[in-house]
Structure formats: C-alpha cells, structure tokens
C-alpha cells in the first residue's frame, strides 16, 4: 500500500506517495528528477547512489523512503556551474573519472568525509572510500582530486 511521505531534499520539501519499502533512490530519480544518484547495484555494494543524509554518506538504493528524517543532499544540489562545491571543483580540475557513472558516489562520500574534517591522510581517505566501485579504473585521478579538494577546504 502506498503512503504519503514528505521529505526534504537539497533543502526543498517534497511530498510523494510511495510504497514504504521503496528505496529513496527511486524517489530521487523518478519522483524528484534527480540525476546525480545513480542505480549501480541496489545492494549497497558500489556507492553510485550515495547521498548525504544528516551529514552521513548513505546508500540511497537500500535506504527506505520511510527512513528519511533529515535533509538529503544529492550531487544535483551540491553545487552549480558558477558555484561548484570544492570537491566538485577539484574533480573537474583533475578530470577525475571516465564515464562518470560512479562519480557521484566518490564525490558525496568525499564531501561527507572532508566536511567533517578536511585534514585527512592518504590511508584515511582510502579507508573512507571502501566499498566504492569505479569500473573504469579511475582511482588515481579520484584520489588526486580528493586530496586537492582537501587542500582547498583546509585553507
């Protein structure tokens, strides 16, 4: 049975009707028209769907709509062309990613990590990225971008 939910995404309140077990990802993509969170596995194994919920990076593909309590930040809302988030800016400068299908997962995970504390070692960063997949194998550029962003966010 569908139920009505009111959720806040990128600072905007939305009301939608959905099966309570439906993962947040489908609401974001189909009801709200978000493009950033992507379907990769639906199993919390790849990170393509990652959003930030109350400051923590979560996998929206397994996060029921019914569980949303606070603001959800998506890649779509993170920054704009004129005012990109420092992490986005660093990814653009570094040309991180190839197909870019995975990239939202890396950016949202890195954003949650660096916003808490941008002073991170290489191994802390790699640890925080555990579970994220990039089939194109662009890890080197992604790591460079995250370190570049960390540097900018520290200063």
């Amino acid at each position: 049975m569908n139920k009505t939910f009111t959720i806040t995404v990128d600072g905007v309140e939305h009301t939608l009707s959905a099966d309570p077990t439906m993962p947040l990802l489908y609401a974001l993509r189909n009801d709200l028209g978000k493009k950033g969170p992507k379907f990769g596995c639906g199993l919390a194994q790849c990170g393509a769907c990652t959003v930030i919920h109350e400051g923590t990076a979560v996998r929206s593909c397994v996060f029921p709509v019914a569980a949303v309590t606070g603001n959800v930040r998506t890649l779509d809302g993170l920054g704009t062309a004129d005012n990109p988030h420092p992490v986005q800016q660093a990814f653009i400068e570094e040309e991180a990613g190839q197909c870019e299908y995975c990239i939202g997962g890396w950016i949202m995970t890195a954003t949650a990590l660096l916003e808490k504390d941008p002073d991170r070692s290489d191994s802390e960063i790699r640890e925080a990225l555990a579970g994220l997949k990039c089939r194109c194998g662009t890890h080197m550029a992604i790591l460079r971008a995250i370190k570049r962003a960390a540097g900018q966010m520290r200063s």
Binding site: R29, F91, M140
Partner: protein, 777 residues
C-alpha cells in the same frame, strides 16, 4: 567545446514522435530535426527540416552557424576517454578556429553518418582522419568563397580564428559565419563508399603538416566532465519519454532453463503490471519502476532443468580445455624451422598459463528505452554500436518466429546514443536494448529497461578463458633457438561485437533464434626477432551455445591480457633461463626502434636495476618487493610497463605499488587526457589480474554481484603511476583506449617472481593463490 545531444536541447519530449521519424527513406535515413543553426533563430515548426546523410557531402560532417559555432556530426561516440574532445581539436586545427566554438553531436543515427561506433580504440585514429579531411576541405571551400567575396586571389588569403583575410592584412576580411552561416556547403567530398570504422574521406585540400599544429597535441580539457560532475548532463538513465513504462526481465537460476509455465496471477496485486512472455523471454512492465522491480521478483515462473548447464565447472575448467576437441586450429605465424630448433636443443623450457572467464561487469547493468509503435522504432542506447542497435532492433522485429511477426511492418528506425556506464567492448548494452525493444513491441508503449545487478554480472557477455602453452628451445651456447606459443581457449566472439542480428543478443536466443559463434583468437603482438618462432591457436566452441551466461565477446583489448600474460611472463622465463636481465633480453630481441624506446622509457622511469634472477628483497615490514617488466604492441601503439609490487606473505596480499609506463601511441592529440586513459587501462587490468574470475558450476555462473565478483577498490590502487609519453608527429594517432591493458598481467607476474622467486601462472592472483604459491615454493 561542448558535447551536445540534440534531444537535450528542448528534450525529445517536446519534439513529437512524428517529427522524430518523419522523412525516412529507404536508402538514407533522414529524420526531421532542427539543424543546430536554426534552433534559436526560427520557430520550432519552421525549423524542422530533413537532415539527409550522405558521406560524400561536406554538409553531412560539418555545419557552421550564424554565430560562428561549428558543429561536427560524429558517427562514433565517446566512452569517457575524451575522444569527442579530440575530434573537436582536429576540426579546430584544420579550420583555424578556437576549439571552444566546436560542438560535437555523436552517435544519433538520424544526425550522424555511421562511422562504426566506438570500436577497437579507433576513435581518434580512423574517425579523426575523416574529420581531418572534411575540416581541411571546408577550410578550402571557405577560402574559395572568401576569394570571390573579397575579390582577392586565393593564394593571397589565409585564415585566423575563423576569419578569411589577406595575408598580413586584416582590413579585407570576412568571417566563416558571414560566408556560410545557416546555409549548406553544398560541396562534395570524395568518400570511399564504406560505412563503419573504415569510412574514409579525401578532399582536394591537403591537411596541415603536423609541425604546424596549435590545437592538436595540447591538453584541451574534457568539457563533458563538468556537466557530469554537476549532475546536469542527461545520461541514458535519465531519458524519460511520455507514456513510458518500466520493464524488468525475469531470468532463470539455471543457465538455459526453459519456461514451463508463468503464473500471471502471482503479480496481479501489483498495480497495472503486464507480463510479457515469448518462448523463454520473460519480462514485466509497470508504470512505476519499483512496481516493475517487485513484480520481477514476485512473478512465479516454473523453469525446466532440461538440457541446461555446462559440461564442466570453473574448478576443472583448465583441464577440460586441455582435453577438449578444438573447433578450429590455426598457425598464425611460422618463422624459420621451429621443429628443427627443438630437435637440436640442448634443453627446453615449457610453461602453461591459465586465464579464467571474466565479466564485463559494468558499473550498472544494461539499460535502454525503446519505443516501438506502428511502423517505427526509436531506441535510446548507450551501446558502443548504436547504429547496429537500430539495425538489430529492425531485424529482430521483422524476422518471423514463434508464429509471430509474419506481417511485421517495414520499420523505420532511429537509434540515439546517450552516455552510460563505461563499456569496454561488447558489453551487455545491446542485450538490454533488445529487451526493451521486445517489451515495447509487446505492450505498445515506450519501455525503459534496467538490468539489475545480478543480470549485469551473470548474464553479460564474458571475456574468454584459455590455456597457453609456451615452449623454448635453448641451444648449446645458451641462446633461445626456437619459441612456440600456443593458445587454446574459447573463441572471443561467441557473440559478435555488433548486436545487429537476433543471433547476437540474449533476447534473440531467448525467443528462439540460434546463436552463430565465430572463431576468433589472438596471438602475441611484438617485434621479437627469434630466428624460429611459431604462434598458433585452437579455438573451442562455447560451453553452451544458446543464451549462455558464459557467451564470450570482446572485452577491453580482446585476448590482449590473456595472451600477453603468458607470452611476456615466458619472455622473462627465457631471460632467466639464459641468465640475462629481462630488460636486456627484450632489448636484444625487439626489431622496431619504437619498441626499444618504450622499454627504455619505462625502465628509466622505474630506475630499473639489471638482474638475471629473482632478487627476493624484503622491506622493513617483512614484505617482499620486486619489479617486473612487460611490453607489447597493438595496432601500431606500443607500450612497456614496469610494475613494482609488494607481497605480504602472511595475508597473501599482492599490492601493485607503483607503475611506470613508456607509451607510444603515435601522434598525441591530447596529452592530459591520454594520461588518464592510460591510467584507466592500467587499473582495470590490475583489477582483472588480481581479483576477477567468473566461478561457475554445472548449472550456472556463481557470480551475481560485487561480493561474488570483487574488483579493485581504492585501498588497492597504486601509490603512483608515472607515464612517459613518446610523441610521434610523423605517425597517425594509433589509439589508446586499450593497448596499455595487455602489458599489465605479465608485468605484475614478473614483479611477483622478482619479489618471491615464485612464478604465478594462473590468474587472478588472489590472496589465496598467492599464499598457496608461497607455501608450495
């Protein structure tokens, strides 16, 4: 430059379906679309014209708008390697314009002539050559027009920044935009009559001398990046068309199981679900995506267990291959007298190398939107061969089978490429598109299909498994007198790399079309001047012919990693058997100076220290450390790699810590992007070498997700990759999308040997295998 997809502009939603398909003709697919030039200047209705595609006309390739922007209509597409940017650079170079005013429209069968799609790392090389000729010709035509307009003889004119003017004098000047804007060139260009990769053009104009390049060879940035990172770019996955329904497939747990019965009542409680069954093709369609997913999980299907399954398992696979009867045997290369060399050998060395099936395992399984209504097919796809997707959809729907499609209409077809998750050959993209086409045909509405994770792993086409046997004859003075490389494995093309026929896609098999595998193998590509050498292969028929989860197809650098894992490991074995340093051994054998140059470049970057046996060095933590080298050519590209590895004997973890590359891909179009393309090749190949194996039992493959099929993650990425690129302006660009893949497995295996003194001859080098190898040593 920017990459535009016309349908992004106002959204296909606002272009009517009639407009989308209007103007089709038998010979040339011309479709009603607004030319870019008029999008902003004319009313939508008035601007709808038919774009007629004729490769022998300049207008098919290039258009110049009133604002001076230049559009290239490109019949390939970029898979995230910046190839569209390279094409824009080539156009800007020949036309003497700023690269920022070049737009590329890619892979829409109604807008761009078929240049073969993304294929074999040919994007820059082959399709770039066509654009070089077209843009050079356009410049000449514009100079000629300018000469008439300005009343100045042609030879006294030049172009700066898209303005034709007298040499050294800008008072007499006229811009490209003024000369041609919004009108057609109406100029022929000589075309070789072919479509696809080999499509070639030649104009009257002579393209620039590479010495004069200003844009080509510079690090123009990929502008598609920003839109993707800011989440403003429309991916295939974001395409939504009016009335669109969501489809999901229902697959059996046993390979090749047949449908006995389908209980539609089992999903009746889910709103507006439709069940589509044809032979063994089973899918569900619903207005809500979540409902389609739920229905696909809840639909009760009874499958038989009949003739399904495989004659062997992944554990017994290599012995099975050794014993199997080949379907085709070929000697590719036979130089000197190999048999005599072995007869006269003082000693021989022999080694076998094993490589498993591997999954393409894209970041997301196949997706597509198809709209089949009346006599028209529109299909949105991220396939590397969108032209073949369209053709394949048409043949699929026009070929009678199961008592259906006898009176099928003569469909018009438009295929529209949109970016999707990286694809590295013949992935599952074309399979997903045909699923969408069949579902849309059945329900009479546009249908979006998204394969779930288990489908993307279990049912995508696979890279083939093989066993390689290498033998060397060493003569009395310690030289290699004869060398025999023999590969026996599954053909790399159970499925063609083009999904242009029902035999070549999973959906086709499921509704009853027969698969038609081809025999295609590979042997080493290098320039070693052994006096006696033989390269041969045995190809095996698929383990299952129909609808097989192990059907093979091209996966990045088809057979490159498998073949060169063996050949370049064995080169090291020969070097050590003759007490020679592996670098020195290679340098003594290569006959092409380009090959020697990349070997030296990689070795120099790595600080290579000569050694004629394994060094078994340990670092402060007790981990083994070693270096290994490998090199190979591929269609005129040549790469050498030194890998530095660290091996933890307690955990069995093999970490590729550093990689040093000497790379020669001919003329470099864009150094910044090239570095990233090489890095992607290296990391993906490292993942395949260390982690990836498709396990299977007699019933089914045992992979369904990233746990059962792990790939490299950030923790295992190297600390550093250093690349030294050798630019060859005198050569064409030779393609970079794949060639650095093939050097990776052997460089790692050779480094492992240097570190531990133990040879690994079976991929992947998992922790368990590493530990076992070290214990048995």
């Amino acid at each position: 430059m920017t990459t535009k997809h016309l349908q992004d502009k106002d959204g296909l939603v606002s272009v009517t379906r009639r407009d989308l398909l209007k103007g089709t003709s038998a010979l040339i697919i011309g479709v009603a679309v607004p030319p870019l030039a008029t999008i902003s200047s004319a009313t939508a209705e008035a601007s709808v014209v038919t774009r007629t595609l004729n490769p022998a006309q300049l207008d098919t390739w290039l258009a110049i708008a009133a604002d001076g922007r230049v559009t290239g209509y490109w019949g390939k597409m970029d898979m995230g390697q910046g190839v569209d940017t390279a094409i824009a650079q080539i156009i800007a170079e020949e036309l003497d314009i700023d690269v920022d005013i070049v737009d590329i429209i890619a892979g829409d069968s109604a807008l761009c002539a078929d240049q073969g799609g993304a294929s074999g790392s040919t994007g820059v090389n082959l399709s770039g050559a066509a654009f070089r000729a077209a843009a050079a010709e356009a410049r000449l035509v514009l100079l000629e027009k300018g000469s008439v307009e300005l009343g100045v003889p042609l030879e006294q004119l030049t172009v700066s920044d898209g303005v034709v003017h007298r040499i050294g004098d800008r008072t007499q000047a006229i811009s490209y935009a003024e000369l041609v804007a919004d009108r057609m060139f109406n100029e022929p260009i000589s075309w070789n009559g072919r479509y696809g990769n080999s499509l070639a053009l030649e104009g009257r104009a002579k393209p620039k001398d590479p010495q004069d390049y200003r844009v080509v060879g510079t690090s123009v940035r990929r502008k598609d990046i920003a839109g993707k990172i800011l989440a403003t770019t429309e991916f295939l996955h974001d395409v939504r068309v009016p009335g669109m329904l969501h489809g999901r497939m229902v697959r059996p747990d046993v390979a090749g199981a047949r449908v006995v019965s389908v209980d539609e009542a089992s999903v009746e409680h889910i709103p507006d679900v439709q069940v589509v069954v044809e032979n063994d093709f089973v899918g569900v369609v619903a207005p809500s995506e979540w409902d389609a997913i739920r229905a696909s999980k809840q639909l009760k299907v009874e499958w038989d267990d009949g003739d399904s399954g495989f004659p062997t398992t992944s554990d017994e696979l290599f012995d099975w291959i050794r014993a199997a009867e080949p379907g085709e045997s070929v000697v590719e290369e036979n130089i000197g007298n190999v048999d005599a060399a072995f007869d006269g050998a003082a000693r021989t060395i022999v080694a076998e190398f094993e490589w498993p099936f591997q999954s393409h395992a894209r970041m997301a399984g196949a997706a597509s939107v198809a709209d089949v209504r009346d006599d028209a097919i529109v299909v949105w796809t991220d396939s590397q061969k969108p032209y073949d997707t369209g053709k394949g959809a048409k043949v699929l729907l026009e070929t009678p089978i199961n008592g259906r499609r006898k009176n099928a209409p003569d469909y018009s077809v438009r295929s529209i490429w949109k970016p999707g998750p990286g694809s590295y050959g013949r992935s599952d993209a074309g399979d997903g598109a045909m699923d969408a086409v069949l579902l849309s045909e059945a329900v009479g509405a546009p249908v979006r299909v998204q394969w779930m994770r288990n489908e993307g792993h279990a049912w995508d086409p696979k890279g083939p498994a093989s066993v390689v046997t290498c033998r060397a004859a060493i003569d009395g003075s310690g030289n290699v007198a004869g060398y025999h490389f023999h590969i026996k494995g599954f053909s790399r093309a159970d499925q063609n790399s083009r999904e242009n026929a029902p035999s070549e896609v999973l959906a086709g098999h499921l509704i009853g079309h027969s698969n038609t595998p081809e025999w295609r193998m590979q042997t080493p590509a290098e320039s070693y001047g052994f006096p006696n050498k033989r390269y041969s292969w045995d190809a095996l028929a698929p383990l299952r012919q129909q609808a097989s989860p192990l059907r093979t197809a091209h996966f990045r650098d088809p057979y490159g990693p498998e073949v060169h894992f063996a050949s370049e490991s064995f080169i090291d074995e020969m070097a050590f058997a003759t007490e020679t340093d592996p670098l020195e051994f290679r340098l003594g054998l290569v006959t092409d100076p380009r090959d020697a140059a990349v070997l030296e470049a990689a070795a120099d970057l790595a600080g290579w220290e000569p050694h004629a046996s394994a060094r078994r060095r340990r670092d402060a933590n007790g981990n083994y450390v070693g270096h290994g080298i490998a090199y190979a050519t591929r269609n005129g590209s040549v790469n050498a790699l030194v890998a530095e590895v660290e091996v933890d004997p307690n955990t069995g973890r093999l970490w590729v810590r550093r990689m040093f590359v000497g790379a020669d891909h001919g003329l470099i179009i864009n150094p910044f992007t090239l570095d990233r393309v090489i890095e992607g090749n290296l990391i993906q190949a490292t993942s395949r070498t260390l982690f990836e194996e498709v396990k299977f039992n007699r019933k089914m493959v045992e992979i369904s997700d990233w746990v059962s099929y792990p790939i490299l993650e950030a923790a295992d990425a190297p600390l550093e990759i250093k690349i030294r690129k050798i630019n060859r302006p005198e050569l064409d660009p030779r393609g970079a999308g794949e060639p650095t893949t093939r050097v990776v497995p052997a460089a790692i295996a050779n480094a492992f040997f240097d570190a531990t003194g133990v040879r690994v001859r079976r991929a992947p080098f998992t922790r368990e295998r590493v530990k076992a190898a070290l214990q048995s040593a």
